[in-house]
Symmetry: C2
Subunit: 162 residues, 2 copies
DNA sequence: GTCAGTGCAAACTTTTTGCAACTAC
DNA sequence: GTAGTTGCAAAAAGTTTGCACTGAC
């Protein structure tokens, strides 16, 4: 699906959600939704705030961003993550299911897909629980940091020997 | 393994970790480790702080708690989670691998085990990444909240009809 | 004796809240 | 018209930091 179509669809979903829950259709809410669906990958409130200001020339307060994000999460149009100190978000409509690798050294988050993994998780029978969505975070060290550490170790070894 | 044995073992592991990394063996560090391994399930810094004060009568500053927790994470004796606003931690030595169900309504976190799930995740081949540990968070609604909502809906329906 | 570690308070960051002004309905 | 929303600023909550003092080595 093209970006423009996705944007139209999520707008409709959001409109229905707002109507169904007695919320108002404000320009701020649609502008926020539009900006979010222009962003690839993760973002936090600060990124969203400055992107709306600088890129989209639309001024909203942080308070409104926080409020609207909650609505979007409830409307299943946005997913919230908390790998770092600040909450991270991402659009969720029309996105492939993916998992997250988080480097414990540099904090870099990369996504990957794995159908077998996805399948097992989604077919797992849960007791007394109604699944909405899930997040799999894999912590470890990315190849970049591993390489850096190796170099560092070599350096220290040489130093010791000299 | 009995609690006392576990405590002795993790103490040894921690001692080795401290020695290997040129850190000092302070009474605070061992007291914190001991308290953590007395706690079942998750805790946050605040809980740990008051538990040490009230239950164990050991006074440490929050700053020291934050510092020590980082060491314990690096020593693989503690795992960090971030499902809520404050970071949650749990002991990790001699604990069965488990996954987390998080109720989006009441915030309750329950643990469950599933060998098939665990197996698939652990045998997944990762590209350019060296796995250390992982967290699977399943979001949805617990049976308690589902029941509450159902009752609420029935009530509203009755009201509408009257 | 030295320097890592500690406690304390202040600073900082992220998120929430109270309130007046605004506007979608 | 009015109640839900917004923006702003203040407050709250969680975490980090600077600095003087302490104690492990």
């Amino acid at each position: 699906m093209e970006t423009q179509n996705v944007k139209e669809t999520v707008k409709q979903i959001f409109t229905e959600y707002l109507k169904a829950n007695g919320h108002r259709k404000t320009p701020e809410r649609y502008a926020i939704l539009d900006t979010i669906y222009s962003i690839d990958g993760h973002f936090d409130i600060d990124m969203l705030y400055s992107r709306m200001m600088n890129h989209d020339k639309f001024r909203v307060s942080r308070a409104t961003l926080y409020n609207t994000i909650i609505l979007l999460i409830n409307a299943k149009l946005v997913i919230k993550h908390q790998f770092s100190n600040s909450s991270q978000y991402e659009k969720s409509y029309n996105r492939d299911t993916h998992h997250h690798q988080i480097c414990m050294q540099c904090g870099k988050v990369t996504e990957f897909q794995n159908d077998a993994l996805q399948n097992v998780i989604e077919t797992t029978k849960l007791k007394r629980f109604q699944l909405s969505h899930y997040s799999l975070y894999i912590y470890g060290m990315c190849s970049n940091c591993a390489r850096k550490n190796k170099r560092k170790q070599l350096k220290n070894k040489k130093k010791d020997e000299s």
